[in-house]
């Protein structure tokens, strides 16, 4: 079952100097596998983790995550 939450993490990573999943993972205190799962829509992060990711990209939360319903 696909998550109702979509995200723009992949695009944002490439727009921020082709940041790798490992680099993003290190910045938000998670494993690369967890970032990969979030990016693929297989795991919905907690609100705190979502804000951390948005903070890394210096973007509002709704620009990173969208509710697809």
């Amino acid at each position: 079952m696909s998550s109702p939450i979509s995200n723009q993490i992949r695009r944002l990573r490439f727009e921020h100097g082709e940041m790798t999943q490992s680099e993003l993972a290190e910045k938000i205190g998670m494993t690369r596998q967890t970032v990969a799962a979030i990016e693929a829509g297989k795991y919905s992060p907690s609100l705190e983790a979502a804000f951390r990711i948005a903070q890394v990209f210096d973007a509002p939360l709704e620009q990173v995550f969208q509710w697809a319903g």
Binding site: G29, M30, T31, R32, Q33, T34, A36, A37, A40, K42, Y43, P45, S46, A49
Partner: protein, 138 residues
């Protein structure tokens, strides 16, 4: 593969290896379920389980130092929590199932081995559940 997934694989393989050896010997009557021979074999298998589990986990930590030293992140915590919930229900059901041979009057040594088998099966289920969730993302 992350350190936590490696740790789940290690638990699965070491459980299968060590307790498979013990229950295999009991099931094929290579060793009697009664007496000190089976107790010695069980103690050897438990000792081997502890040594292998610790040794291989340390080796896995050495090969993935970043993952190995950092605490579990939220997804890993959820995976551990869910897998233990599954394992708990498996253990409860198997414990209730033991009630049948208990009332059938089977010898105590058989019941003890069945109880031990329950714990091992629950441990295997926890490890498999973790591996499945790590593999599919969650």
């Amino acid at each position: 593969m992350s350190f936590r997934e490696k740790a789940a694989w290690i638990t699965l393989v070491v459980l299968l290896l060590c307790f498979g050896l013990y229950f295999g010997a009991i099931a094929t009557h290579r060793i009697s379920g009664k007496g000190w021979a089976s107790v010695h074999l069980l103690m050897q298998c438990v000792a081997a389980f502890i040594v292998l589990q610790i040794g291989l986990t340390l080796a896995a930590r050495w090969t993935t130092p970043r993952d190995g030293r950092s605490p579990r992140d939220e997804r890993e915590q959820l995976i551990v929590s869910r897998s233990h919930t599954v394992g708990y229900y498996v253990l409860m059901v198997l414990t209730l199932v033991i009630g049948v041979p208990f009332h059938a009057g089977l010898p105590a040594v058989v019941l003890v081995n069945l109880a031990l088998l329950d714990v091992v099966v629950a441990g295997l289920v926890v490890a498999v559940a973790q591996i499945v969730m790590f593999r599919r993302g969650f």
